[in-house]
């Protein structure tokens, strides 16, 4: 696929979600930096090194270095550390940036399945927007696992992906990136408060993955 205009994208978080998104967006031709707490420590991890050999085009840096001059910052950290990691980046670097939040506020302290640490009257997406009012927050991709995020065709049939956010231009940028990654049913749910909907879907997703014995599961919105 040809990229009309490559973007500078910082992906924060070096777990499976961060690696999958950074690798895929880098392969598509974007200028991708992978942000981590301690680049030296990350560089010593075997799974990171194996991944980085295949994605040498991705730069590894601290959270703040990765986000410097980025067009798009992707929060691929766990929900429990999201606000702290974004604090490390700082409000100044996030001002005006398209801030893509793919995290889920999962609380495993009482075992599996996890409960949500925030829901019903608030959401993590809203908390991120509230903490960083200058950022243009878009919640998306939290309704599927990392393999499906970057290769939705692996499900064998078209699944849907949702975007929630208060800034239409930011949602358009994110929708373009989603389509580049293969998502052909991008549904705009409305403002950032609609992040409550996609985050509260997680308990159903977790039960589905358990019932079907696989996290390779998505949902397609069916309408006439």
């Amino acid at each position: 696929m040809t990229i009309a205009t490559p973007l500078v994208i910082a992906v924060l978080g070096t777990g499976p979600v961060g690696r999958a998104l950074a690798g895929r967006l880098g392969s598509l031709g974007h200028d991708v930096r992978l942000g981590t707490r301690d680049p030296a420590a990350t560089g010593r991890r075997e799974e990171h090194r194996t991944w980085h050999e295949e994605h040498a085009e991705v730069t590894v840096a601290t959270f703040a270095e990765a986000a410097t001059d980025a067009d798009v910052v992707v929060n691929a950290c766990g929900g429990e550390v999201t606000l702290e990691v974004l604090d490390q980046v700082g409000a100044e670097l996030l001002d005006g940036v398209v801030l893509v939040d793919v995290s889920n506020p999962l609380d495993f302290s009482a075992g599996f399945p996890p409960r949500l640490s925030v829901c019903n009257d608030d959401s993590l997406g809203e908390q991120v927007q509230h903490a960083f009012p200058g950022a243009r927050v878009v919640k998306t991709l939290n309704t599927m696992n990392s393999a499906v995020m970057v290769d939705p065709a692996r499900l064998g049939a078209s699944a849907s992906v949702f975007v929630s956010g208060d800034d239409p231009d930011a949602k358009a940028v994110v929708a373009r990136l989603l389509r580049e990654m293969g998502h052909d049913d991008v549904i705009d749910l409305g403002g950032i408060t609609s992040a409550r909907g996609v985050e509260m879907f997680l308990p159903l997703w977790l039960r589905l993955a358990g019932a079907l014995g696989s996290s390779e599961v998505g949902i397609a919105v069916v309408r006439p």
Copy 2:
């Protein structure tokens, strides 16, 4: 479609959901009673009379009369009155019965979209099972509107429907009824605690219906 064995089914609630389910199950050949608080008052309502003319095979009775000797009791009342209505039926009549709960714990007191009155650590399905331990509770159908419940083909593509409950035989009875109504992807999510998943899906469903401008919307679970 030929019904192997007609069941005696009480549908509690004379709103759109109760009318749709009672009418459809009656058309399929089951012995259906529609339960209401005050049969005389219900009989005076124009929308009920119009509906009953087309479904004369359905008996209208009080909640308790409808549930007497029923194989299956369907709670099609609003979430806010569910436990009170089932109290009117009483634990004795519900003992051993397949109790199908299609309600959602929606709280509209703060406007639209509603919040959930229970979620995350509990669900209305679990509260029903806890209040009536002798009933064999199955949560299902709460993830779609009444028209789609009884005619899923109207969506133009196959959507999925979920069953949650602790009694496998009760879930098998419900799965049979769902298939008779046209549902061809019935997914068993596990025990009644999985009702949390399908009830917490409602905030996403409400946002989807708003974004798409229609409540004629379902979800299909996509897996390889």
